[in-house]
Subunit: 267 residues, 2 copies
């Protein structure tokens, strides 16, 4: 049965479909881990041969942990401002201190929430600072220093191990004004155009699309979250069958998703 | 060859995967069309048996057109306010007039953009009013009157035709503050909990998740856009293999995604 079964697995699906495949068996990541090796091993155990045409969506948390972007809370000395806000709202003052340090601008600081602009230009809760447990100790994970560079390095390392250079999207979960709930968005990309600019192209009715720029990397991050999930905690999702547009030498990464403040109606 | 080929198509994939399948052959939709019949026919032509476990993501545009939520621009008499804004920014004053009529509040009206709150509570560009061509005439499509009811009616009609009652998500493309590009979000749902509230549940490290409410219906809408796309214009996407949480009798639809203004830091 092994032969035919194997062949059936590889059958071309009847309908061209995009597949979202969460990788099993990525272990708890700790500082210094080689994330590319962990992913390559998970792919191999799953019998999945990586292809240039694939997109790998990886959560920020495992990238940050592998890169050592973790801070032991015990080592943090909160400022007076952090202490006051934390006391008022029942927060950990050491986390608040890290949030303020990671922010270039506090956009809102009320009702126990801090919405901040990070130095990458992302506007999100807590400037991306998450509380976590690593090796039993209480730590905060910070966003990668340069998530596009993290994505690029992961792509190169996977290329060395597997011969394939897929597109990489590093995802994080952000809230939004006006809508309940968080969704996953892209904070770093490599090898893929994060935005599809369709302006000037005709739509199906031959009408020119005037304002259609699509944040495809954000949509890929959201799609991957459906497969990886918050509870299942499978931090790496393979997207297969999606014909992404490769970035050229002008790869701006996920920085292309950051709206310039002068264009923003909600600066 | 037909027998084995058929069997191969139905093989269980080796890795549990979510599939995003854009339906081919949905024709241009016009007012009065029976959308459920068009979808059922497309599924049948594709050899896809609909299941209760599936999610169908349908773009707002085809729902609005089928429901006759279209206005011939020639019939619209613009107000002085609409005329002034349109003249200043090179817009069609009749479209601006419709945008103002569809808005309960104009959130921003500058740089040629109108960001408005619709009576459903959605904050989006142009209150969801799109210019389009229907039968050669220039029309505006408006959002459905009650997108959750539209989703519910479509679900019932599909159930009558196919015996299966999948979850329904009606999607539209919204911009966001701070980020370039639009992404698809949910404006109507039926049969599915739009939000997953994981607060109080332990994460993989046993730490209680304090603020994790995930806008799954928005993530489904974004995922579907990758398969359906703006250019390909395949307005219906089947999501198969995603274990959604069915809504109970307390189905609030996509209204669960609307943030109450008193909780909003950006009201």
């Amino acid at each position: 049965m092994a032969g035919p079964r194997r062949r059936r697995m590889r059958a071309v699906p009847r309908h061209a479909a995009i597949e979202l495949i969460a990788l099993d068996g990525i272990p708890e990541v700790t500082p210094g881990d080689d994330l590319a090796s962990l992913i390559a091993a998970a792919l191999e155990r799953g019998g999945i041969g990586l292809r240039d045409e694939d997109v790998l969506v990886v959560t920020q948390k495992v990238v940050s942990k592998a890169e050592g972007r973790v801070v032991a809370l015990a080592s943090v000395q909160p400022s007076a401002e952090a202490l006051e806000f934390a006391t008022r709202w029942g927060k950990d003052p050491r986390q608040v201190e890290l949030v303020l340090r990671e922010s270039v601008e506090v956009v809102r600081m009320e009702s126990g929430l801090i919405i901040a602009r990070t130095r990458h230009g992302f506007v999100c809760a807590n400037a991306g600072v998450d509380l976590s447990n690593v090796g039993g100790g209480e730590v905060a994970t910070l966003l990668p220093d340069d998530p596009d560079a993290s994505a690029g390095a992961l792509r190169e390392a996977l290329g060395e191990r597997s011969g394939a250079r897929p597109a990489i999207v590093i995802s994080d979960s952000f809230g939004r004004p006006w809508r309940n709930g968080i969704v996953n968005v892209a904070i770093g990309t490599a090898g893929i155009q994060a935005l599809a600019d369709l302006r000037g192209r005709p739509d199906a009715q031959g009408r020119e699309m005037r304002s259609t720029v699509i944040a495809l990397a954000d949509e890929l991050a959201s799609a991957a979250d459906l497969a990886g999930g918050k509870v299942a905690q499978r931090p790496v999702v393979l997207v297969r069958g999606y014909a992404y547009t490769p970035s050229g030498t002008d790869d701006r990464g996920a920085q292309a998703l950051v709206m310039p403040r002068e264009q923003d109606l909600f600066p």
